[in-house]
């Protein structure tokens, strides 16, 4: 056993947490995280607003200025879109591996690889979501000390859609946190049960 004699498992590991339940819980969470991250990516990439301002009037003809707000004007939003895209691809690949990957021989590296990749993607989505969140806060409130004006009073729809993408991304972040935790728990469970039985958490080749 991976635990020494007389040591108690924490409450949440144990007889209640069976292998099948663990597998389907993890897959359900991955599906939710994939949907959240994909939604965040799509909403941010398609975020665009064009507005025409009247800046002057020459005689009776108004002089118009057309300004467009696109997501790729801000490097932080580009990073946000890329990070969420990568996280959604990661979750999709992990679901595929779980469903279809029982034929490959991973040489014992499957669970550590899954756990490491989950941690890396957690770091990625955390970075993307926070960078975009603070850029959005700057756009909403401006910064009087640096003489930066807010833009959300002029481009309200752009800001609202960006806020929606941010909420989806933070949801994906919370889900990735839980998924990371469960992946490491899977490692412990497999190790502690490998002396007892030959069942595995995720279908590995026998």
């Amino acid at each position: 056993m991976a635990l020494q004699s007389g040591e108690k498992l924490p409450m949440f590991i144990g007889h209640v947490w069976s292998k099948q339940k663990s597998r389907w819980t993890l897959m359900g969470l991955r599906l939710l995280a994939f949907l959240a991250a994909a939604a965040a990516t799509l909403v941010m990439v398609l975020n665009k607003q064009t507005k025409t301002f009247v800046v002057a009037t020459i005689g009776t003809t108004p002089v118009n200025l057309t300004l467009t707000a696109k997501f790729h004007h801000t490097p932080a939003f580009v990073f946000f879109a890329i990070a969420n895209g990568l996280v959604s691809i990661h979750n999709l690949v992990m679901i595929m591996v779980d469903l279809l990957g029982s034929k490959f021989d991973y040489k014992g590296f499957q669970l550590p690889m899954i756990a490491s990749l989950d941690m890396l993607n957690l770091a990625l989505v955390s970075g993307g979501a926070n960078a975009a969140a603070f850029m959005a806060e700057l756009g909403k409130n401006g910064n009087s000390h640096a003489r930066w004006d807010k833009i959300c009073d002029k481009f309200g729809a752009y800001c609202d859609r960006g806020a929606g993408a941010l909420i989806a991304s933070f949801l994906a972040l919370a889900l990735m946190l839980v998924i990371s935790f469960l992946s490491i728990l899977n490692l412990k469970l497999v190790n502690s049960s490998s002396h007892n039985s030959h069942n595995n958490i995720i279908a590995l080749p026998n």
Binding site: M1, A2, L3, Q4, S5, E7, L9, P10, A69, H73, T74, P75, A76, F79, P112, A115, S116, M119, L122, A123, S126, G127, G128, A129, N130, A131, A132, A133, F134, M135, E137, L138, G139, N143, H145, A146, R147, W148, D149, I151, L177, S180, F181, I184, L187, K188, N191, H195, N196
Partner: protein, 178 residues
């Protein structure tokens, strides 16, 4: 029975275990020191500039992103220091479950510092280059010393994140063995 034999077998600390423990303690010292240095540098980064008789100043508290970055590094320093003391004083009694809690702690700290870094970098790039589309002008040509100190603080924080990442992976690895 297989299980009883595994329990009865004595666990003497071999060279690999000592190496891993030493690496963990060194990395924790590095993460604590860099987080503390990053927090210290940004807390003390002030600069006042006189332009046309008016004085403008720059400090970390003028931007919520820099505030978040500073507080994230300070919190990471506190928790890393506590974990360092815990690991040092409990070094002969480290089990898989304790390593699991170390893993959770390191994961949380890495996420926190990385979030602070992302926020600070995003706003720092706006301060460094400006943003032509929104009409935000750069401020780093006026406040050179402030911008340099913030850059140094972020570089130290990046080092802390790398240390914490390696610590997370090591703690996760140790939490399933023993």
């Amino acid at each position: 029975m297989e299980i009883k034999e595994a329990n009865v077998r004595a666990k003497a600390p071999n060279k690999t275990d000592k190496f891993v423990l030493a690496t963990q303690i060194c990395l924790r010292i590095a993460a604590t020191a860099t987080a503390m240095a990053a927090a210290w540098v940004i807390f003390t980064a002030n600069q006042t500039v006189e332009v046309l008789g008016m004085s403008f100043d720059a400090r970390y508290s003028y931007s919520p992103a820099f505030k978040f970055f500073a507080y994230a590094n300070a919190i990471a320093f506190d928790f890393s220091l506590m974990s360092l003391f815990f690991m040092f004083f409990a070094r002969h009694a480290l089990t898989a479950t304790i390593y699991f809690f170390f893993f959770l702690h390191d994961l949380m700290m890495m996420s926190l510092v990385l979030s602070g870094l992302a926020a600070g970098t995003a706003i720092g790039m706006v301060a460094l280059d400006g943003n032509g589309h929104t009409g935000w002008i750069k401020i780093c040509d006026r406040f050179e010393k402030f911008c340099d100190k913030v850059t140094v603080s972020m570089a130290l924080s990046y080092v802390a994140v790398v240390c914490l990442l390696v610590l997370t992976v090591m703690s996760a690895g140790k939490s399933r063995q023993i």
